[in-house]
């Protein structure tokens, strides 16, 4: 939730560049820049880490095979032998990165809906940027942020695990 709000901080440059471009009379450039940077964020900023995390599995070696042959006094192996480890390793073949928050799925839906609303209202407004439209967009942004935060705060049912909370 904190990260959702902190995202404002990470796009301060966007704001400044948009302001400068609009002042110089290129609002289209500002809009295309902000949307294009988002496409880059989603496709590359999420795609590359996921891809590499998954590919790292192929270069993964089980740690220090010698330690597996340690035996206790009774002669039974203390740890599973190397063969067994490899067998288990083969069992888990379809490796994946797990996403721990169900709320993010809902956030993505909200983002999609917001985008559709933006496009529809943009055409209803006949491709113009008026002050009223700006206020309307800010209102939509506030409501979307609120909805996302409510999701993450588990208001609409439990969507992800509790973060570390002090026990009373």
């Amino acid at each position: 939730m904190g990260l959702t709000i902190l995202a404002v901080g990470s796009s301060i440059e966007e704001i400044f560049s948009a302001i400068v471009m609009t002042r110089r009379g290129h609002p289209e450039m500002a809009i295309a820049g902000s949307i294009g940077s988002n496409v880059f964020d989603i496709l590359m900023g999420l795609g590359i880490p996921w891809l590499f995390r998954n590919l790292m599995r192929f270069t993964y070696q089980p740690p220090a095979l010698e330690t597996f042959s340690l035996t206790n006094k009774a002669g039974a192996p203390l740890l599973p032998s190397a063969d067994e480890t490899f067998a288990n390793f083969e069992d888990n073949l379809p490796f994946y990165v797990e996403i721990h928050s169900r709320g993010l799925v809902y956030s993505t839906i909200v983002l999609f809906v917001a985008l559709i609303i933006f496009l529809l209202t943009f055409f209803i407004n006949r491709c113009r940027l008026t002050k009223l439209y700006g206020v309307f967009l800010i209102f939509i942004w506030l409501s979307v942020i609120t909805i996302m935060c409510l999701f993450e705060m588990n208001i609409f049912g439990v969507v992800h695990q509790e973060t570390c909370r002090r026990k009373i």
């Binding site: 939730m1 990260l3 959702t4 902190l6 995202a7 404002v8 990470s10 966007e14 704001i15 302001i19 609009t22 002042r23 609002p27 289209e28 500002a30 809009i31 295309a32 902000s34 949307i35 988002n38 496409v39 964020d41 989603i42 496709l43 590359m44 999420l46 795609g47 590359i48 880490p49 996921w50 891809l51 995390r53 998954n54 490796f95 797990e98 996403i99 721990h100 799925v105 993505t108 909200v110 983002l111 999609f112 985008l115 933006f118 496009l119 943009f122 055409f123 491709c127 113009r128 940027l129 008026t130 002050k131 700006g134 206020v135 309307f136 967009l137 942004w141 979307v144 942020i145 996302m148």
Partner: protein
């Protein structure tokens, strides 16, 4: 991921709202680039949703995202052709609108040409006049290629003009006013600007040294280097800012934990 989705919403809604609020006049936008970007954005978000729906990301899904970005870049690369394809259809409004747009651009072009013209020698003037005539005739002929030819010709005339402009001092001032090239040796003339100049001096000097200014003729071909260096600077500032956020919030906690660790260590050392 929360950051990315949050900043996505912020960028789309808030930045565009700011554009609308700041611009003094009601700006009419061309629908095509926005529809292109937003449409592709919709596709990207839909793909993202299908990928994270089961909360597991396999390797081919990550690869699909990267490939989708490659597709997007390709679309942008062939943007001209696609836009021509979209606008070239015989609907009446779009071509007229694009021609209006071209007329506007050509008007601006001619303005700049006129401005430069007054400072030019007679030979260069005759060249630019002929070019203007050419642009006018091609404009009458119509079509989407006019801006391209006009642009090419403008570039071809613009360079020699600029070289010539640098010779005389008042022309030099005009160029400097238009582009604001930073000169590390020059003090600002106005008094109230001096404080700002002193404050900004180290940063601007660093930038001046590290980033080649592609507006100058010498560095004209190194625009890619300019882009990379600017990106590096922006990244640097960004990480620094995040570091300071962490520093401020984690300062007290860090102090206490440090003290606690030291006392623990001392306790272990002397208790034996």
């Amino acid at each position: 991921m929360g950051t990315i989705v949050g900043s996505a919403v912020f960028n789309v809604l808030f930045v565009i709202a700011l554009c609308a609020l700041i611009s003094t006049t009601v700006c009419e936008l061309d629908a095509y680039p926005i529809v292109r970007d937003a449409g592709f954005y919709c596709i990207a978000v839909a793909v993202l949703f299908t990928i994270i729906y089961d909360q597991r990301v396999y390797w081919y899904e990550g690869l699909a995202l990267v490939l989708l970005y490659v597709v997007y870049v390709l679309i942008l690369k062939f943007n001209d052709r696609i836009s021509r394809l979209v606008r070239g259809q015989p609907s009446n409004q779009n071509p007229r609108r694009s021609i209006d747009c071209h007329v506007e651009q050509l008007q601006a072009l001619n303005d700049t040409n006129l401005e430069l013209e007054s400072h030019m020698a007679t030979r260069a003037r005759s060249v630019s006049e002929s070019v203007m005539m050419n642009t006018h005739t091609t404009m009458v002929a119509g079509g989407t290629t006019t801006t391209e030819t006009g642009y090419m010709k403008r570039r071809s005339t613009y360079k020699p003009c600029r070289k010539r402009l640098k010779d005389t001092p008042d022309n030099h001032q005009i160029v400097a006013n238009a582009t604001e090239i930073f000169d590390p040796l020059k003090l600002p003339t106005k008094r109230y600007k001096i404080l700002k100049w002193i404050l900004m001096y180290p940063v601007r000097l660093l930038m001046h040294i590290t980033i080649p200014d592609c507006r100058k003729d010498v560095f004209h071909n190194y625009y890619m280097l300019t882009f990379v260096m600017s990106t590096i600077w922006v990244r640097k500032n960004k990480t620094k800012r995040f570091f300071f956020y962490r520093l401020i919030s984690g300062c007290w906690f860090g102090l206490f934990s440090c003290l606690a660790r030291r006392y623990c260590w001392l306790y272990i050392k002397y208790s034996r």
